[in-house]
Symmetry: C2
Subunit: 341 residues, 2 copies
């Protein structure tokens, strides 16, 4: 198959025009939302999306709305030219890369415009804490694009129960930022199918629930985690691990893997399973943010594994926060071909 550059679209209106033109010809359109710095995990999402669609849009946009002012927006890795090269090299390629400059800039939206406060159109490097803090809001929810007055962006989607636990505890702005930007992308790209990775398990559940609750006409598919040969779940943040930190970080997938086997061998007490994972990560030098066993659909904590659960972990190694998720179904035989123990 001949290699071809994807079409790069940066404007919302052009993106929607492309989609509508293609849909009018009966094409099924897929969307894979990313923040760029693509790796094999993203490629697997693209390959999954291709199964269900005629045409593929990959969005590359680092969304300031899901970062708090103290988080790593300014150091989030990026390599747009490298991303395009990777997509071009794919067998089959992708059709469009949607790469907007700023999804929160409404100054060209006619009468319902943004104001002239340029900070309302937040840039990637704008880690200004805004004025929200000063007025002392009731909710401690503030992202890099927050404002207290004027015409700047102010609409947020909250998936109120699913957003609370796991990563939501330490990242209170994260899921409302993700849900909101994904809704925006859905309304701009108008895909039939969207694919999210189960690596970000809670995110996938939040998006599925949002799509159901807001009646988006989109089929949301969860794609399996892709791991390196040593078992570490692929993440754009892995590049920031030192060799030593990376070695230590393997304690996450190794302990999760052991926990899965233990559960399938009958050890279904969640406190025991959690303790062993926490201990393994701590002994390796990691700092556990959480290690919880929750139901797959609601992400509500369980005490004993009876129905399908996910063992969800977040831990810091150095300055890098990693997450991993292991689905466990004790009703089925253990069939993993590769285990890191």
């Amino acid at each position: 198959m001949e290699k071809r550059d994807p079409e790069i679209i940066t404007e919302k209106e052009l993106m929607r025009t492309w989609s509508r033109f293609m849909r009018a010809q009966g094409k099924i359109i897929g969307l894979v939302p990313t923040m760029g710095y693509l790796h094999q995990g993203h490629i697997s999402l693209i390959e999954e999306a291709r199964k269900y669609t005629d045409l593929l849009v990959v969005s590359i946009y680092v969304n300031p709305g899901q970062f708090s002012p103290t988080e790593d927006l300014s150091t989030y890795p990026s390599d747009f030219r490298g991303d395009i090269d990777k997509l071009t090299a794919l067998p089959g390629g992708v059709d469009v890369v949607f790469h907007p400059q700023n999804l929160y800039d409404y100054r060209n939206n006619g009468s319902e415009s943004g104001d002239n406060d340029t900070s309302s159109g937040a840039t990637r490097r704008n880690n200004n804490s805004g004025d929200a803090k000063e007025e002392g809001r009731e909710e401690a929810v503030m992202s890099c694009i927050e404002r207290q007055s004027g015409n700047a962006h102010e609409t947020w989607i909250r998936v109120e129960r699913l957003e609370r636990g796991l990563c939501g505890k330490s990242r209170p702005v994260f899921f409302r930022g993700v849900a909101t930007v994904v809704a925006k992308l859905f309304n701009i790209v108008e895909p039939d199918v969207a694919v999210f990775g189960k690596k970000d398990y809670q995110q996938w559940r939040v998006i599925r629930r949002m799509v159901r609750d807001l009646d988006f006409p989109i089929n949301v598919i969860g794609s399996e985690i892709v791991r390196d040969d040593d078992g570490l779940a692929l993440s754009s943040r892995n590049v920031r691990l030192s060799t030593e930190e990376r070695e230590k970080a393997l304690s996450i997938n190794m302990s999760l893997s052991r926990a899965k086997i233990a559960a399938q061998n009958g050890q279904v007490s969640c406190s025991d399973l959690r303790n062993s994972v926490i201990q393994a990560i701590q002994e390796a030098g990691g700092k556990v943010d959480y290690a919880e066993i929750v139901s797959q659909e609601n992400l509500e904590a369980v005490e004993e594994i009876k129905s399908p659960v996910v063992f969800s972990v977040a831990a810091w190694f150095g300055k890098v926060r990693l997450i991993d998720n292991m689905e466990i179904d004790v009703r089925v035989q253990h069939v993993n071909t590769q285990v890191w123990t």
Copy 2:
């Protein structure tokens, strides 16, 4: 023009199929969302929508998500057969009445289904306060369909600044419920144009802001207030006023009208204008919820009228809460042909 019954559609999927079929034929589709019990105000929205569209959908759905458990969901008036008769009698009619039973029932949504808790599919008469209160949520935001766990509806759209003031103060669940149900209707009906009345001025602004911020591909139009001959703004709730209460309620539009003339004659101090309206309503026996002069776009309070504002009032007469809104632009000549003084 021959009279014709509108097609009545109750299922989400059928509604979307109809819209997509029509759009594929190049038709421009309009949506007028209503809670039924139609009056001339609704008819004016329909007539406004017809200017911009080929086909018209009127939705009739009393949305439990915008009522708190202590509000008047159970007594909200309804007359579906009468509504259909009124729509049929319209010159040009309407094409579809979308009349879903329950927009929050997801039991037919495949794997991302609702749970078996039938209260998740709230009915109109279900004023159950749910279990949210018991757990003492951080935010005092709870509607008639609120749940604390399980798979029930949990996604809410917040337009964080515009939802706070005016009606948002006394009705904390209202605008998130409105924004959420309107987003659902937008995703189900997929209209090109939607029309809202300026009678519910804050609602109109909330919806416009949501559409901008979430990039809905929909043109939201505000339609002017329709008043009875005596000047009372039309509302489905007016039917619940006694003759005497209705007479007293005219103090709202009369005092607003006087305030507008005063402002256009140079009296631009908002505290003076507000005091005279509050006094007039109180003297008539009404209980003022709020009487505020705010900028038209942000709904932020102003002290002196320099740019276009809206004078926004909510007041109780007996058990009925009425709202009215008067746009004031001191830069233009007073041109009202009818004033109630």
